[in-house]
């Protein structure tokens, strides 16, 4: 780790930051949990919490690579559309092209990875800013999903297909195990490998990272491809949970995912962020949604809360960071 020339401030400050933002967020989460639990006795039950975990897996899977991307100072707005495209490719390759279902699943994962790879390729080779590239593919991938499916849905999957989305394994929703594995892998990759340290280096100073001989373009290509692949996996889990395939699946996911990552303390300017923070961010959003819904707030009003929380948390994080930098 010492061979990677991280800017001095990061080394000095990362633990401070960790201590501050994520713990603060976790504390707020805890308080919110208790209040919502008092307001509604159905909220703080193991059944409900596990069920919320089930519902949030799809967003959680995408939030992990999104954390990587935002740490490098990039962004991926096309993830929701990739979910839609992958869901359609899964259903269509099975029902229309006649692929066996396991092959169809692999095919849709490959499509997701390819979609992410295209994002990464244009971002690294043509140097199109990630924001613009993924706005373009947000339209393109959703458009492909709509065009290919002509707004028809696919249903009637065999019983075993629903295992991941609906069954329990050792008393815990099956997809939560998937998410858990992904979290551990992402956490180790970010914290304990050169790959992870490279992400921070890119986010702090891309030019310096390049001159230090770090494979900047290759790492970027990997994370955008990974983002597409995870969106594909998320599509599989989603289709398995709701038992049908539609072209509008996953629309708006980018908002939830980015909100969770930014809420979790990852700086949208790059260079700062942890997987642990993202997890807290995801939990916070889902539990806020659920708690508000149980206490009688309508579904659409909870989006308002998430939007406000997103802006406010960036505001607080930004001013904390400025004070830390002594600006």
């Amino acid at each position: 780790m010492s061979e990677i020339p991280l800017p001095q401030t990061v080394k000095r400050v990362a633990p401070w930051w960790l201590l501050r933002h994520e713990t603060m967020l976790a504390a707020i989460l805890l308080v919110a949990l208790i209040i919502l639990g008092i307001l509604n006795n159905r909220f703080l039950t193991l059944d409900n919490l596990l069920n919320q975990g089930r519902l949030t897996t799809e967003v959680g899977l995408i939030a992990l690579p999104m954390t990587f991307i935002i740490i490098t100072g990039g962004i991926d707005l096309s993830v929701g559309s990739i979910v839609g495209l992958c869901a359609i490719m899964l259903g269509y390759s099975w029902k229309i092209f006649g692929f066996p279902l396991p092959l169809a699943i692999c095919f849709s994962l490959a499509v997701g990875a390819a979609a992410g790879f295209l994002n990464g390729l244009v971002i690294t080779k043509v140097k199109v800013p990630p924001l613009i590239m993924t706005i373009a593919t947000l339209a393109l991938y959703r458009g492909l999903a709509e065009g290919i499916s002509q707004a028809h849905s696919v249903r009637g999957y065999p019983e075993w297909f629903y295992f991941v989305g609906q069954a329990d394994l050792f008393g815990v929703p099956a997809q939560l195990w998937l998410l858990l594995i992904a979290i551990v892998a992402a956490g180790i990759a970010l914290d304990r490998t050169t790959f992870g340290r490279t992400l921070y280096a890119i986010g702090n100073n891309e030019t310096a990272a390049r001159f230090s001989g770090l494979p900047v373009d290759r790492v970027k290509l990997i994370i955008y491809t990974l983002s597409g692949l995870m969106a594909g996996l998320s599509a599989f889990v989603l289709v398995s949970r709701v038992t049908t395939t539609r072209s509008d699946m996953g629309s708006g996911y980018e908002l939830d995912v980015i909100a969770a990552v930014v809420l979790g303390g990852t700086s949208i300017f790059g260079g700062i962020g942890t997987i642990w923070g993202t997890i807290v961010g995801i939990a916070m959003i889902q539990l806020l949604k659920n708690g508000l819904a149980l206490t009688g707030v309508k579904g659409d009003a909870t989006i308002v809360v998430i939007g406000a929380v997103l802006i406010l948390s960036t505001l607080v994080a930004g001013s904390l960071q400025r004070r830390r930098d002594g600006v």
Partner: protein, 328 residues
């Protein structure tokens, strides 16, 4: 006009002018060429009725794209505009149904639009939060707020006088089309020939250089967003008055269509370059393509794929052209 004219075109005025002119000329040719090609395949496409429907039904996108172009030229982005237009249209329609004077129903969306956008601009400029985060949050607030307040109920029984399309200049040019043309031309002239207009390019082209020339970046950002809100207000009016009902939800993916129009119109995504004439032409082109798909028996479900491809090609071409200019 003295301090503000130091943007890129000072370095190479002719080439920049040529590049801009070619983008606009290209779009105009594309608009006419597509009309002829589709007209040959299916003459009904060229019927006055269809062409005026295309213009009338999409004038609001062109007007909103004018404001969006300013935002992008200044080096920012706004993805909340679609939700804002939905909210403003609903506000205006609700006022009209409840018997407010027509002039009030037309003015309120403009004022609210300016206020909401200026507030966003202030948060972006003075609290230094990236535009993407602020506008993403605002999108979510406006969208969720609108649906939870109205329950998605349609607004009907709008008074006749509310409808701008009923007003026609010389009995031929309907108000929405007139507004689109006037807004585009005024904005284009203002941005090219006034010091304040030029400062938008200056801030987007090189914020540090602009600061050294005495242009306040935060103030310019707030101004650009306020103007963007004004155009969003006009767009909301056009949107609200084009049909007999207002759906009181956010039109899906409207912000994306507006951004596409700006970018395809030649507004550089890296800031500092572009014109609003190009973005209005692009808005017409996109609407024309959607209509052309219908008349050539292509499923309308492909429209977004076409849109995405269009924006992707323009963006890549823009970057490559810039690189060649920088290298030359």
């Amino acid at each position: 006009m003295t301090a503000a004219t130091f943007t890129r075109d000072e370095a190479d005025p002719r080439r920049l002018l040529k590049a801009l002119a070619s983008q606009e000329a290209l779009l105009a040719i594309a608009v006419i060429g597509l009309a002829i090609a589709v007209g040959l395949y299916n003459p009904r496409f060229l019927a006055t009725r269809n062409l005026s429907d295309v213009l009338l039904g999409n004038a609001y996108i062109a007007v909103a794209a004018v404001g969006m172009s300013m935002v992008i030229i200044s080096g920012n982005i706004d993805i909340s505009v679609g939700s804002l237009i939905g909210v403003l249209a609903t506000v205006s329609g609700t006022l009209a149904v409840n018997g407010a004077p027509i002039i009030v129903t037309w003015l309120v969306p403009l004022v609210v639009g300016v206020l909401v956008m200026a507030a966003q601009g202030a948060v972006i400029a003075y609290l230094r939060i990236p535009a993407i985060v602020v506008t993403l949050g605002m999108l979510s607030i406006l969208k969720g707020g609108l649906i939870s307040v109205t329950g998605g109920k349609w607004i009907t029984d709008l008074p006749d006088s509310f409808h701008l399309a009923n007003i026609e200049l010389f009995d031929t040019v309907p108000m929405p089309v007139l507004l689109m043309i006037v807004a585009t031309i005024l904005a284009a002239v203002w941005m090219r020939h006034s010091a304040t207009g030029r400062s938008i390019y200056a801030v987007g082209g090189n914020a540090e250089a602009a600061r050294l020339c005495g242009i306040s970046q935060p103030r310019t950002t707030v101004m650009v967003f306020a103007l963007h809100g004004f155009f969003a207000g006009i767009a909301a009016l056009l949107y609200a008055t084009q049909l007999r009902v207002i759906q009181s939800t956010v039109p899906p993916n409207l912000e994306l269509t507006i951004i596409t129009a700006s970018v395809v119109g030649g507004v550089s995504i890296l800031g500092g370059v572009g014109t609003v004439i190009g973005s209005s032409l692009a808005a017409i082109l996109i609407a024309e393509i959607a209509s052309a798909l219908v008349f050539t028996d292509v499923s309308p479900y492909w429209i977004r794929a076409v849109q995405g491809t269009l924006i992707l090609i323009t963006v890549i071409a823009d970057i490559l052209r810039r690189r060649r200019m920088a290298g030359a």
